[in-house]
Symmetry: C2
Subunit: 324 residues, 2 copies
């Protein structure tokens, strides 16, 4: 990858998002603050297989947008547009429309344009009724205002934003467990207050409006030092990614109440340690915030009903995430 | 899609590329010519299946970039960066590296950055050894300099740039024909001057340097009125897309010499009419050029060894493409 980069790529190859500076010629001006384009690609993994099985495709469209735009905002970028790639066995307009309506709904929530995409029909590659989804999002951040975790320091407060369930990660483990336990997706469980399908196929929460509203409130001060979208690898891996090598994170796992699906899975044989490595466990997005601004940030996030929770803090360390 | 668009999306939903204007805040300047971002998504279709069978993955990486950047430049945009989505049965680092090296090579040819991507491991979705590829490219064009075919007029000269073979379209038809004729990929044919695998798996030609060098030569004059990347649907569909409803195109199919693979397929039972609907037939990219500039354009394209050929012209009509 690196040999294609040049000076205009300002992100690290291992980052979730790629960052590309528009130069003077492209801005066609030498006047003022330039911008950096931010881009990422992601799919929804094997949640697709479960969505197809339960005939719920709309939610997968929302998931696809969510997985991308939630990654995009971790660096402080504002999503501009989204494109999709849908690969199918055969074009079935009604099912395809359901996915596209979901993506459209996701783009509305993320305040970005569904700009285009590609639908590929490949009967020899995908089984009947099966398909795969990939998405790409592009956003923009002012140069010098990108949040890359470099500023994370001991004492920073970790604020979590609740997930609404499993979002779009851990579905290989989930599907194995469903098969082993022979659980029926369409059965209603009182513990869940809904059917199992409702609980495991709820579309991923989109954090864009809440996070951007927060950042818009601090245009000069550097209040948020790092952000993490909690995806595959759970809290340890994703919070770990923004730590650098001066900090460790301590997360108090008792400080929030996970959605009932987690207790449901735990009760039916899933191991807690494995769950923390695979699922978001109830926290879908984490912000590291300078301690003196934590109260203000919490108030702002409460104002937009984001239900923020203090889940831990940074301390001097060597890049570890400790779950307590 | 439309409900997510707003005034900043300036492309039509049916266009191959999406166009998104950066606004004043994002340029952070009210000084000078603003730019439009251009984006597209594409895969390489079932050429993947043939590439996997012949164990040639490097070329598929080049193909993936080519399919996207060749689309991107049809509107006059300069590619900035590229992202990929690779879905696999199981991660096999060596094979994956081969694809990534191909993409890196493609990005170098297209003078854009390989900015990032996503690799998804989904053993239940993809068969052993199988995978799918999707790509996504973003470019930039000065507002008011985008070429959208609106300016195409009767009399415009159609200049074709040769393909180097099948590029990345028509592989479902090709694979059916290969199976029916029981042809061996690794056999050398004198008619081809190479093995069948060499002929059908050659990486797609990337037209970016030639087309951008041409456009850079005319920064004020509007010389090129429309461009088409010849993909699925062949010359009729893809040239047809830039005609509007004031013109028809007449293409003299004897005016260029296709690569030997086309005569090879024709001789072995493939139907000419079907081939024209599915393959590029030797012309991978078409430019519609104002007649008074045709000579100059040809000279410039010859200077960069693009081997341009006059393949036809526009005449008054109703959006038809006539092959003669």
């Amino acid at each position: 990858m690196r040999r294609t980069h040049g000076r205009r790529v300002v992100s690290k190859p291992e980052a979730f998002v790629g960052m590309f500076q528009l130069n003077d010629g492209e801005r066609a001006s030498r006047c003022a603050r330039p911008v950096t384009l931010v881009a990422c690609a992601d799919g929804v993994g094997t949640k697709v297989l479960l969505g197809v099985k339960a005939k719920r495709l709309h939610g997968l469209g929302v998931d696809l947008v969510a997985m991308n735009v939630n990654d995009l905002i971790t660096c402080g970028a504002r999503p501009l547009f989204f494109l999709d790639y849908i690969a199918v066995h055969r074009l079935e307009p009604k099912r395809l429309l359901e996915v596209i309506e979901g993506m459209s709904e996701g783009c509305r929530q993320a305040e970005c344009a569904l700009l285009g995409g590609e639908t590929a029909q490949m009967p020899d590659m995908y089984a009947r009724g099966q398909f795969d989804l990939a998405g790409f999002a592009v956003g923009v951040v002012q140069q010098g205002r990108a949040i890359d975790g470099e500023g994370v320091a001991p004492g920073d407060v970790l604020i979590g934003l609740p997930s609404n369930g499993l979002h779009s990660n851990g579905y290989s483990l989930l599907r194995k467990w469903l098969a082993r336990r022979q659980l029926k997706l369409n059965r209603h469980y009182d513990e869940l207050g809904e059917t199992l399908a409702d609980a495991v196929l709820r579309p991923t929460k989109i954090y864009v409006p809440d996070v951007l509203a927060l950042l818009d409130g601090y245009r000069i001060k550097r209040v948020v030092t790092g952000m993490a979208h909690i995806t595959g690898g759970g809290l340890p891996d994703n919070v770990g990614r923004v730590l650098g090598n001066r900090c460790s994170a301590v997360i108090e796992t008792g400080s929030w109440k996970p959605p009932p699906i987690y207790a449901f899975m735990r009760k039916r044989g899933m191991k807690r340690a494995e769950m923390f490595r695979v699922f978001n466990m109830g926290i879908g997005f984490v912000l590291a915030v300078r301690p003196r601004y934590a109260k203000g940030v919490l108030a702002r996030l409460e104002d937009c009903r984001a239900s923020p929770v203090v889940i831990g803090s940074m301390r001097r360390g060597t890049g570890k995430v400790l779950l307590r």
